[in-house]
């Protein structure tokens, strides 16, 4: 292979970002709304009241629209792996094969059986079996997300595997380590609980719109009552799992944490920035102040990262240039070790081809010593290990502000529901409509923090993105990027039109 074509890398990156972010417009609504449909139907079965049945059928229809437009958009990412990311997909095939196969099987059986009963079985199935099917769709959808999030968690913290220099693959050694890694657990719980909030906000937004229009008032109030309880509990759970996620970052991805906190110089008892504006054009090691304006909470970052008020939290410069006192190796040293590992891997293969078993064994021994740093060997400079700070800093802080605001909204909605004053509070209804868009954006930004935050790595510390791509012409990837852009735009217009039409018709139309 010659020089890496960064045009291909960047187009492949852009295409994957486009596909993933489009796919993620539908997923959190599916995850959250599926459980809300199950709650609504449970109330119907327990009370036997027709109004709860109508309400359930209405939300199920919107769930079906969202599901139908969103279904299979994730498959495109698998196409991209094979074409644009062939090095990556080859190397991780052994790790991802099992989780993704389980996801496929679960999704197939779920969709072929319980999904059909949920939509076709209102008059054909017993109340109990229909309710069971609705719950199975909710549980199954979320379990289906489990496997892909485990795979993503492994990319953030590659555990339970060993690199095989003969096959060039990361091979699974312990599936339980992969499933129960602290990053995978935090990722699944944080992603699903935040998706429940998005689903709740979807119900609240549509119901609030009805209240503003004075239509379907009783249904809207009932829907908000259930969604605000679910949204509040999920919002609190999202905050707790978010804290767990940050704690895992503090241990395993300190560069990501330093990036989203805008921390350039580490310290003991590090403050957290509650509100701040980054200095424009700030670069690592340029001596500029990181913030043009900031309001900090004393020792907050040490508490978040290490759960100790006076613990040391490394900054970007500590991680790039090293910190002897804190035992942090400079990136330049890791790069040197990584280059040795790559050279020894080449020597190992060459000795194998030449049939020189002694040289092969020696090369393998040397390779094993430096293999943990192999990924760093592809870096051209120590500063290359720094992610785009502004993107993740603002995304992270937006997520925190939106999450806090949404808990407040849920509390206000619950209070108004209990006092029966919701119909008169127009401002709260407007906030309710706005909440869905605010949380959907927050959910997308969560992925920006997770994925942009671990740049330049495809697999943390092991494989940089630029080495994960296929050596193909960038024009091909650019062309398919625009095809996807057109396809997604058409699908999005279709979804919005069908969804709005159904919302406009209201519960009578289902």
């Amino acid at each position: 292979m010659g020089e890496i074509d960064l045009g291909t890398v960047n187009w492949a990156r852009a295409q994957f970002t486009l596909t993933a972010m489009y796919h993620w417009l539908f997923v959190p609504i599916t995850l959250g709304l599926s459980f809300l449909c199950a709650f609504f139907e449970t109330i119907y079965v327990r009370t036997g009241k027709q109004e709860w049945k109508n309400l359930t059928k209405f939300w199920m229809t919107l769930f079906g629209i969202n599901f139908a437009i969103g279904v299979a958009t994730g498959i495109i990412m698998e196409f991209e792996f094979g074409t644009n990311w062939s090095n990556y997909s080859w190397m991780v095939g052994d790790i991802f094969g099992a989780p993704l196969a389980i996801e496929g099987i679960v999704a197939f059986f779920l969709e072929a059986t319980f999904f059909a009963v949920m939509f076709f079985g209102w008059e054909r199935a017993s109340k109990g079996f229909h309710l069971f099917s609705t719950w199975m769709v909710a549980i199954g959808s979320n379990l289906s997300a489990l496997w892909i999030l485990i795979a993503n968690g492994w990319m953030q913290l590659p555990v339970g595997m060993a690199f095989n220099p003969d096959s060039a693959r990361f091979e699974m050694e312990n599936i339980w380590e992969v499933i129960f890694s602290s990053v995978a657990v935090a990722k699944f719980t944080h992603t699903t609980t935040s998706s429940f909030v998005v689903g709740s906000c979807f119900v609240i937004a549509v119901s609030s719109w009805y209240l503003l229009k004075g239509r379907h008032v009783d249904m809207a109030k009932k829907s908000i009552a259930v969604a605000s309880v679910f949204g509040l509990l999920s919002g609190i759970a999202t905050a707790i799992t978010g804290d767990e996620s940050a704690f895992a970052n503090g241990h395993y991805q300190p560069m990501k944490m330093a990036g989203y906190e805008g921390l350039y110089k580490g310290s003991k008892g590090a403050d957290i920035v509650a509100l701040g504006v980054l200095t424009s054009g700030k670069k690592v090691g340029d001596g500029q102040e990181p913030f043009a304006f900031e309001i900090t909470l004393p020792k907050g970052l040490s508490l978040l990262a290490k759960r100790e008020l006076n613990a040391f939290v490394p900054g970007i410069e500590d991680l790039v240039y090293g910190n002897e006192e804190e035992g942090i190796m400079p990136a330049a040293e890791k790069i040197a070790k990584g280059k040795l590992a790559i050279a020894d891997l080449a020597a190992y293969k060459a000795a194998g081809k030449a049939g020189d078993e002694t040289a092969k064994a020696e090369a393998l021994e040397r390779f094993t010593v430096n293999q943990p740093y192999m990924g760093f060997g592809y870096m051209d400079s120590p500063e290359e290990i720094v992610p785009p700070v502004a993107s993740i800093y603002y995304s992270f802080h937006y997520m925190v502000y939106a999450g806090t605001a949404i808990i407040l909204l849920m509390l206000l909605l619950l209070r108004s529901t209990l006092k029966n004053t919701l119909v008169d509070q127009k401002w709260l209804q407007v906030f309710g409509v706005f909440s869905f868009f605010m949380m959907l954006l927050s959910s997308e930004f969560g992925w920006v923090v997770a994925e942009v935050g671990r740049q330049p790595w495809a697999i943390q510390d092991m494989l940089p993105v630029k080495m994960a791509t296929t050596n193909i012409a960038s024009g091909n990837v650019a062309a398919t990027f625009f095809i996807f852009l057109a396809l997604f735009t058409v699908l999005m217009i279709a979804e919005v039109k069908i969804m709005l039409k159904q919302i406009n018709i209201g519960p009578e139309g289902v």
Partner: protein, 75 residues
């Protein structure tokens, strides 16, 4: 629900599809989307690079190793 036979299952799905309202439009979208994805995009734009260009796993592994070891610049 009493799904005792394949015929009942068939009828269940058949009647379900027949009664659909908004679902008909959605199925059309799903089918068009799947056609575009699998019969157009996958077939013409997204070949599996390693499967298409190499005939066995050893060749694929060697290619990836070459990629990993051949592009390092020694600074």
């Amino acid at each position: 629900m009493t799904l005792h036979s394949p015929l009942r299952i068939y009828r269940f799905y058949r009647d379900g599809f027949k009664r659909m309202t908004v679902g008909r439009t959605l199925w059309k979208i799903i089918l068009i989307k799947l056609f575009v994805m699998f019969a157009v995009l996958k077939l013409f734009f997204f070949p599996n690079y390693l499967k298409t260009n190499f005939s066995n796993d050893q060749q694929r592994a060697d290619h990836v190793i070459e990629q990993l070891t051949g592009s390092v610049k020694n600074n």
